[in-house]
Symmetry: C2
Subunit: 237 residues, 2 copies
DNA sequence: CTCCTCTCGATACACTGTATTGGCAATATA
DNA sequence: TATATTGCCAATACAGTGTATCGAGAGGAG
């Protein structure tokens, strides 16, 4: 039980006061620079050297404000949470959809977010505030029991993580190859087509040629609908 | 439309023949070494230098067999697909569950997998075979239309990506802190408890104190059930 | 004005993926 | 068997990374 207690987490550690005037730095400025950089050039471009350069500072100067690069990443995630509007709506389904769309929008706007959202939530102040608002809205919209609310949110956010990651991955692949989905299916695949031509993969062939082609948003909504239907069913069951 | 055509992808490029005898190398041996290393020490430990060292070779020797590190990662993913048993079952729900459990098991066994499974599928031979088997089993189990089958698989795999990532993230966090979930909730959070003590976050407090505590498997099954229920409903609708 | 403390820049280290180069060993030819 | 040729592989090099360490210099206190 040490780590956590030894060095207080970034959320508890106060920002150091600044005594010197020139080119005032702050966590907020650092995080903003990092977010901007990540939006523009991807998460890999976020190196302490580059972020510092963006702020006309040496790399080591950042260590007055953040303890480690991972902390900077945590702060970036929380900064995004601060942008997401609190879920709203009258029925619980509406609230759930609002929650989902908020996360998805943020995830598509900041494509690096999905890479940083792994398991356990980071629980920065903005994330906590957003979570509180989500739970509150769900209860106000009709979900009474806390267990039901938590199940709903947990399942939703699991789906969301996967969906955003999938969509972002597709976008990246498109950009990397300069091809959109349809072109990709026909062009990427000398080897796929060759495989299919053997006749050993009839279902894959059929899927490729005959299946309806939904775009990313439609797929997202479809899955979201399934999930909400399933949850609703469990409510009345 | 260049990249793809210019240099054939790793799936098409044949393995080079070996002429010299001592310490014979092969893609398979390289990939196995990389997978073993990733399983044991995490994806970050998979550097070309370390993989090569594991095989008593210099780093540059690997470039006879793989074109780039990313290709090695692709091969690793495909190697995992080769381990996943083809989904089976009599009803489509059973098949879907089998599919889901196969992926989840693989993802938990190779914790790095979730990090490599982003958007578009990699379509290595094993992945294609597994996909074909999945689609075939679903049709045999009662799902006729290809659109239905594809929707089911897509939605499922989106949920799976999120779920595996979540679980893996939790495991990592546990290992990093030496705490399990419950301990974590009470220990990690001087600052969380402090926030909650203010009374500004009643829902979060309630969630933390009163909500039922499901383990990872239960949560996974719950969400999977919701999803399947939602899909089933759309079938009869 | 002097002393002390704190902050920041420079430097250094171990590590990454991979381009380049040159020597050596195995094979093909005479 | 002697020679020519091929092609693989190790060594080296480079531009990056996060961050530990250290020394200089500036701000505030007495």
């Amino acid at each position: 039980m040490r780590q956590v207690a030894d060095t207080p987490s970034i959320w508890e550690r106060p920002e150091p006061p600044q005594r010197r005037a020139p080119s005032p730095l702050s966590r907020e400025r650092i995080v903003r620079a990092a977010v901007t950089l990540a939006d523009a050039e991807g998460l890999d471009a976020v190196s302490l050297r580059k972020v510092a350069a963006e702020l006309d500072a040496g790399p080591m100067r950042l260590y007055r404000y953040i303890g480690t690069k991972d902390e900077l990443l945590d702060l970036m995630v929380d900064a995004v949470y601060a942008e997401i509007p609190p879920p709203a709506g009258s029925g619980w389904r509406e609230v759930a959809r609002s929650y989902a769309h908020g996360i998805r929008t943020a995830g598509l706007q900041h494509e690096w977010l999905a890479d940083l959202l792994d398991g356990r939530p980071r629980f920065g102040p903005a994330a906590v505030t957003h979570a509180e608002a989500t739970l509150t809205a769900l209860r106000a919209a009709g979900l009474r029991e806390i267990d039901t609310i938590m199940s709903t949110v947990e399942v939703l956010s699991t789906y969301l993580r996967g969906a955003v990651r999938t969509e972002v991955g597709e976008r990246r692949a498109e950009r990397a190859s300069g091809l959109d989905e349809r072109e990709w299916q026909h062009a990427m695949a000398p080897h796929l087509l060759a495989m299919f031509a053997t006749g050993d993969y009839p279902m894959m062939s059929e899927a490729m040629h005959d299946a309806e082609h939904r775009d990313a948003t439609e797929r997202f909504e479809l899955g979201l609908g399934y999930l909400l239907d399933g949850i609703e069913q469990s409510l009345s069951g």
